[in-house]
């Protein structure tokens, strides 16, 4: 089973770097379990990255003010709202999935999202804040655990 770990973020922008920081640690950890990619692009431009993978983990920052910074949320695409995006920059994952289905593209059948609540998403050159730095190892562990779980499930079949 071909598996993608897609880490989103921008290492020049404060806590938004968390996905990229995770990617750099994950590369040493996941071995043959998955391909680890990092990207700072948005929306519909992400479509191509997913093609030809069967499973995908997405790692990203999220800024809701509803959880303490450093909180890790595990989401499925169904948890994300239906889309009426005003721009393809903000096209949603559910929308990409439907597009891929309509165009009969090879898109991952199973997707898990690990999103970390962050504190500062707007300061260029800012360091990651302390709660984010502290929670980063746990984020990496959760991704590795997910990949191992998938591998075990697949081997067990």
């Amino acid at each position: 089973m071909k598996t993608l770990v897609l880490c989103l973020g921008n290492d020049l922008i404060a806590d938004d770097a968390v996905g990229i920081a995770a990617a750099r640690q994950l590369r040493d950890r996941v071995g043959d379990l998955a391909d680890v990619e990092e990207s700072a692009v948005s929306g519909a431009a992400l479509l191509e990255i997913f093609l030809d993978y069967e499973r995908a983990v997405i790692v990203d920052a999220i800024h809701t003010h509803r959880h303490p910074p450093g909180t890790i949320l595990k989401l499925r695409p169904g948890d994300l709202g239906q889309v009426a995006a005003p721009s393809p920059h903000y096209a949603g994952l559910p929308e990409l999935i439907v597009m891929a289905e309509q165009m009969e593209l090879s898109f991952p059948k199973e997707i898990v999202i690990f999103a970390m609540e962050i504190e500062d998403s707007l300061t260029i050159g800012g360091e990651m804040t302390a709660p984010i730095r502290q929670a980063l190892p746990q984020l990496v562990e959760q991704v590795v655990d997910q990949l191992k779980q998938w591998e075990a499930d697949f081997s067990g079949v």
Partner: protein, 488 residues
Amino acid sequence: MSRREIVIDPITRLEGHGKIDIFLNDQGDVDKAYFQVPELRGFEKFAQGRPVEDMPQITSRICGVCPMAHHMAASKALDDVYKVTPPPAASKVRELLYNIFMIEDHALHFYFLGGPDFVVGPQAPKEQRNIVGVIGKVGVEAGKKVIGLRKKMRDLMRLTAGKAIHPVFGLPGGVSKGITKEEQKQYIESANEAVEFGKFSLDLFNKVVLQNSEYVDAITSDAYTHKTYYMGLVDENNKSNFYDGKLRVVDPDGKEYVKFAANEYLDHVAEHVEPWSYIKFCYLKQIGWTGFEEGPDSGVFAVAPLARLNAADGMAAPLAQEAYEQFFQTLGGKPVHHTLATHWARLVEMLYAAERMKELAEDDEITDPKVHAIPTEIPSEGFGVVEAPRGTLFHHYQTDERGLVTMANLIVATQNNAARIAMSVDKAAKGLIKKGEVNDGLLNMVEMAFRAYDPCNGCATHALPGQMPLLVQIYDPDKNVVSRIKRN
């Protein structure tokens, strides 16, 4: 201050995206409506003290939407900082890659962005007015064509610019890698496909949009019309160019108002600050800021595809020139003030970019290995300008004698367009809110204007692949929030 409160959708990662504030007067009618974007903090401080050669990489990585535009504006500013002229092949390689980027970006936008309003139709149920609806209407094959073409363009960018998304080839005085004769064949082959794709797209627009009077009525409706100035880069013949030339501004009657070089931008473009917004509103300095007003006495101007066609005398490529002429004939002559015509203008530009790509790819000088002139001057100050897909983009740097940045300023397309965007939002709100009652169509109306400009929101980063809701907040005369409307 209640008006600073922001409701964040659980899947929106950057606060403030697409936030619209509407202020009511004592009668409950709209006093003013404002579109807001977040602004990234600390760019200037971050840039200070860094080698100026890093700017093409830094600025392109800050922007997750049009990194090639920042990379190219920065590379051109570096030429100016070191007062070095790239060899002819280097300029051609840069322009070739830049046009490839424009094709890729415009294709994405027309099919996935303009589509909701035109391909699917302005009257279609809102559930269908999204990317998925577009694929449903244009068909799976057209969708596959878009994906296939974008892949080819990205492969070429990876080949020469180093990376498809974040190019790394721009240097002061040229580029780090040229194009071999073998690679030239690949460029020519893909350019031919791009030209065919450009023709196919305009043909589709003709069939789906122009032969439907409802759609044409929507484009020309007063709700989306503003008589402003327009700015765009032009070559020595006043033909549109994305990579180089002078900035030409035409007045609301379409007559040339001024033409200037990038290093004169401070004489012509100024920024107005409003207390309610993070964004700085650009206006024409010599005319002045008179508020969010139309007409020749207001310095408000527009950039982006529609503005570029208005600001130029034509397109420097035969098929695009034909399309340009049809555009103005159909819409009643120059200039066209209908914001929604931007989607059509984008297709005219995509065909031009494809034809220009072919012309440059077939030029044998492009395989000349001399693609870098070594800078020898002491660095000082430089300006760079390009036409980003969303409009004119300025970079301006000052350095010390070692080439370390002491000042960096970027003016992005969304700032250039900000006043006109605010006017469109204001017009939609005034038409739809009466005596405190909010019409349900407000979001759709505002979204259609929003989509045409495609503001890139302060060069913010990507969004978690969830949706970006528009948030509308309505305030009473005492600035208390009385209502919030959110998509979904």
